[in-house]
């Protein structure tokens, strides 16, 4: 058990964004958190990564209480995240987007500070699907197409050499071929020992790779189980009424 979420609560004004959510994550798992819009998925990620402080509840990472720590401290401990709407360092060349996490204390500690950041950055970009000599690597990141921005997000998280990857709607806004090229990458990452928590809107896509799924609705955890269990659950289908197409 690498991550334990315990009775998490968060309110925004009068809205309960997260209402008493608990679950655990084991090492090397892919967990998919699904739910309709406004279910509190992103808030959950923000809570884990420290961008928002919970009102109540605890988050334990490898037995250590990380509740209320700053985002950079949590990242330093080994929980990396991506953002739903990719916001790259738009004025900087793509490659420098990846150099930034390589300059963090965590990576310095892990690598002992040896090696050229630029070379490593190119390696990581290649891993997420950039071509080594592509123009995109030197272009300002702001000029890249949407699909590549998502890859930059992923590469930035990977560069941190995290233990847990938090992926916030990585697949949203991607075309079918792009999705099919990224999914195997995630499985590969899992095989390399990363623990992945992905928040996703598109249940079907993630069901293919997820080990377990957690369904949120209006801040409440509806159920937890294997993709098959979730896909056939009546309650889940009820929540997704009108979205059957997506489910099926």
């Amino acid at each position: 058990m690498i991550l334990k979420i315990d009775n998490l609560h968060k309110r925004f004004g009068g809205i309960k964004a997260i209402d008493d959510v608990s679950f655990t994550v084991n090492e090397g798992e892919i967990i998919a958190v699904v739910g309709p819009n406004g279910a509190g998925k992103t808030t959950l990620l923000n809570l884990i990564s420290g961008f928002i402080k919970p009102d109540k509840g605890k988050i334990l990472f490898k037995g250590r209480d990380i509740t209320g720590m700053s985002p950079s401290k949590i990242a330093e401990l080994g929980i990396a995240r991506t953002f739903q709407i990719p916001r790259p360092l738009h004025k900087l060349p793509t490659i420098f987007n990846i150099v930034i996490p390589l300059l963090s204390p965590r990576v310095k500690r892990l690598t002992g500070g040896v090696g050229d950041e630029l070379v490593r950055a190119i390696d990581i970009l290649e891993e997420v699907g950039f071509e080594r000599d592509s123009d995109y690597i030197r272009k300002p990141a702001g000029l890249l197409p949407h699909g590549y921005l998502k890859r930059i997000e992923l590469a930035r998280a990977l560069a941190l050499r995290p233990e847990i990857l938090l992926l916030d709607e990585l697949l949203s806004g991607l075309s079918r071929p792009e999705v099919t090229s990224i999914l195997p990458l995630l499985t590969r990452l899992k095989d390399r020992g990363f623990t992945i928590i992905m928040v996703e809107h598109r249940v079907r896509d993630v069901s293919a790779i997820a080990d377990r799924m957690i369904v949120l609705n209006e801040g409440v955890k509806i159920m937890e189980g294997t993709p098959e269990e979730v896909m056939t659950n009546e309650k889940v289908i009820e929540i997704y009424v009108g979205r059957r197409g997506e489910l099926a």
């Binding site: 985002p71 950079s72 990396a80 360092l89 900087l92 930034i100 996490p101 204390p105 930035r156 998280a157």
Partner: protein, 339 residues
Amino acid sequence: MAKGRERIERLDRGIRARTRDMYALMSYAEIIYLIGPRIIPPILLLVFPLIISDPYWLLVMSYAAFYGVASISWDILGGFTGLVSFGHALFIGFGGYSAAILNAWYGVPIYLSIPLGALIGAGLGTLVFAPCLRTKGAYFSLASLVAPLVMIGVIYASAEILGGEEGIYGMANPFNDVQWYYIFTITLLVSFLVIRKVVYGKFGLILQAIRDNEPAVKASGINVVKYKLITLFISGVFASFVGALQAHRLAFVGPTFFNLLHSVSIIAMSTLGGIATIVGPALGAYILVILTEYLRILQDVRMLLYAIILIILLIFRPEGLFRYLERIYNTFERKVVEE
């Protein structure tokens, strides 16, 4: 010799294309093209007193260098880190007052009071700005605008200790006009080199990343607040240093050191020259200071004309004069005859 097809090529392109990052120059013209703009301005600045020895213009050029350093140091904050401070005068004032108190009250010699004043001033300024870091964007600008005004209020309220509006005077001023000119100008050149080193290194990369997208940097495991504080301090050291110099140069320091006008002039100069370029702010400082003094001959319409010129330049060259000049310079062309 048979004439080939004529082609026009931009000078810089030829050089870059051949060399990627290493410069293998093929003619004197190319050498001059590359080195000229980097070497001529500093040389001009250094020989200026030999050409014009009028103490008045030396003073004006010292002021320009003073504002130049302040603007460059502002550029680390406003241009590179995205902390658009409207209260940079805070550092100038703290530096000036620290040096003044050290020298005039405790008799610390000038060569110690200035660097110490710079460090203390930067430290105090960072301390005051630290709580403002919680705010973002326009709020940070306005909060930082308020900070030096509070200091002016504090100085007025503690008139018996800090001298109120009559300030502190009696600091050592052992140099003559030419010496002061060189002190200010060399400070400018050194600051320029140091700050360039800082912002174009890995440290500067992180600062630019913070400007572009703060959450992403946080998510990359980098302590943003720590970097911002360090940046405030580095920027503050330079601004405080010239504040301390100015305090000794005028042998006087008063609450106007904290003035809104100081802060705003610095921003005007940086914007005019082009933010996030380092050279630009210094260029802007020289232009605006010399312009203000040059317009003296027009007596009472002076400030009006100053404002109008500033408006026109900012509207028609909004990206800053430096970038504009750079662009013009890069269009130097040559005819290449292909055989």
